[in-house]
């Protein structure tokens, strides 16, 4: 598996926004993960070509970041926060409840491939403790009963959450005529024109 035609086009556009192609690496890996749910060897090889790195560099970099997966996970990745603010409102018990009710260990995936449960670090919703994310969409002040309802909704396809790997539903896009212009650093040695206005002021 490699990148779809639509994603090839998208990748080319993203690379064009950075002064060096390698800077597009993480956004492109996300593109691949949104496509397949995890990073396939084929996609990583293709991305290596696109950004001018070796496949080993790509995999080595991806491995540093917890969100990237090298194997399929559940359609819904459930991340329960147990960090300090959530701990104080029962985050650990919520994680325990999640594992018990889905019959998985922390990090495990249900037999039907629907859910993977993980322990999250602080997800910046601390006043909403205990909280969790499903495919990086938030739910706050979650009681065990809320959790069970959420799982029901997800099973029934009522929660409106896309499959694993999909993050933003809107992508940045820059019309060619609006782009100020991206060049490698060594080709942009001049001060931008408007900065010179300081000198005009000094003369005045």
């Amino acid at each position: 598996m490699t990148l779809s035609d639509a994603n090839e086009a998208q990748a080319a556009e993203i690379i064009g926004w950075f002064p060096r192609p390698r800077s597009a690496l993480i956004p492109l890996l996300h593109l691949a993960q949104a496509q397949d749910g995890y990073l396939t060897d084929g996609a990583m090889r293709r991305i290596a070509e696109l950004v001018g790195a070796t496949p080993a560099e790509v995999k080595g970099t991806a491995g540093f970041y917890e969100m990237f997966r090298f194997e399929p996970v559940g359609t819904y990745l459930v991340n329960v926060c147990t960090n300090i603010s959530c701990l104080l409102w029962g985050g650990e018990e919520l994680l325990e409840h999640a594992c018990e009710s889905l019959d998985v260990e922390v990090g495990g995936t249900t037999d039907d491939g629907m859910f993977t449960v993980e322990e999250a670090e602080c997800i910046a919703a601390c006043t909403e403790a205990p909280c969790l994310q499903v495919n990086y969409r938030y739910r706050g002040r979650v009681t065990p009963a809320d959790f069970d309802r959420l799982i029901e909704d997800l099973r029934a396809g009522r929660a409106g959450i896309a499959g694993h790997g999909v993050l933003a539903q809107v992508r940045q896009s820059i019309p060619a005529e609006r782009l100020a212009g991206v060049v490698p650093p060594e080709q942009a040695r001049e001060a931008p024109v408007w900065l010179a206005r300081n000198d005009v002021e000094a003369v005045r």
Binding site: G60, F68, I84, G90, C122, T143, Q172, P185
Partner: protein, 485 residues
Amino acid sequence: MGTPSAAGGHPAPLPDRSAGDGYLPHAPGYVLNDGPKLITGRFVHEDSFTLARYESTGGYEGLRAALEMTPAAVHDEVRSATLLGRGGAGFPAGVKWGFLPPGKHPYYLVVNGDESEPGTYKDRLLMERDPHQLIEGCLIACYALGLQQCFLYVRGEMALAQERIAAALNEAYEAGYVGRGICGRDFSVDIVMAWGAGAYIVGEETALIESLEGRRGMPRLKPPYFPAAVGLYGQPTIVNNVETLSNLPWLMVNGADAYKGFGSESSPGTRMFAVSGHLRRPGVYEVEHGVTTFRELIYGDNFCRGIRDGHELKMFIPGGGSAPWFFEDHLDLPLEARPVGAAGSMLGSGAIVVMDDTTDAVRAAWRVVKFFARESCGKCTPCREGTTWLEQILRRILDGEGRPSDIDLLLDIGDNISPGPYPVAAHDGADAVPFPPRQTTICPLGPSAVAPVVSTIRRFREEYESKITRRDPIPLEVVPAGAPQ
């Protein structure tokens, strides 16, 4: 919830959050209370993230005002406002901007939207609820400094923030606020959203730059201390926090003098604080900087309204997971960097975590240490090994398998990461050790892991000792007095 809280053993029914409490359903956790709202004023509007709403509520007027001034005058305005960085270190933005070496173009602007410090919740709100305000802030900074390229780095786990920023950038490009010839002038800037993929350490500015260069997010060796000298692609780079930049539109419309009309002299303006934990009204508040005290924030009717019913304060973290802990005696300190630093901690990222008398101090410390052990990037040994050891020792103490020497061992490991007296609050006649800690490591993450350990050992040593010496009780047969032998 009915089940015992892991932090103590007290049942934790979630506090009631009824309408009219100041909470806004579309901005979870944010509390609209009385007080100046310089950066969260638009949150009341459900559609605050759209260009239409932004423009109809004074949007992009700060940029227009800036464009009427010379770039140097804009920089002067920011310098004279003493706008302090909101990412953690509290360094004045105007001074940091002045570190750019003249003539060494191109310069880059990198926006730090990686918010992941335990307890911190404010940048996400700003990105989700008012992305145009942030974009306008970026443009003002770019104009002042002569930057043609800005990278807005959003934390990987924040899908909605990414969506809102992407949509806002699309609108802003379309409307001529970003890109070529902004507002019909000779001012051109590209703003590109980048996003992370799950690594707390990427919030450290040099690690952020590594990540933006498409590498593992590991901090760079210092010196140079500031990316303003050597940053992205080796070029001068300004890294600023989301909240810092979100102040610029208001500042340019109203001026530095008006800005200094709020807060204290050394910490002007307002600041967002996420106040979480065992509170009646936990929330994210925009607060006057420097003049409000911890007591007002935690107990004030206009803020969190005190500890949940029937309980008392035991301790609080004043500035995010990396900060040493405070207690009852520190409630009257103002929310201002200098006095908080002198008292042995830091204001950090505007994250206050309040723990009541049901909280197990060792368990709470362990959870924060576990975070740092998981997030250590592994580049330096004292941090990579030390944070893991700290976590394992705390774990065995909690499991009832602690050894009498463990308290000293914890302190000794801490001393290897951060040599000398570690910043800590005054207690029992012993003076406070002021912030910041020293470090044997490349970045402050390692020393941060020592904070909860030293804070709790100094204050609650007997809790450690009782866990360590606890043995299964030997059953005693009580013989009633006067009974036949």
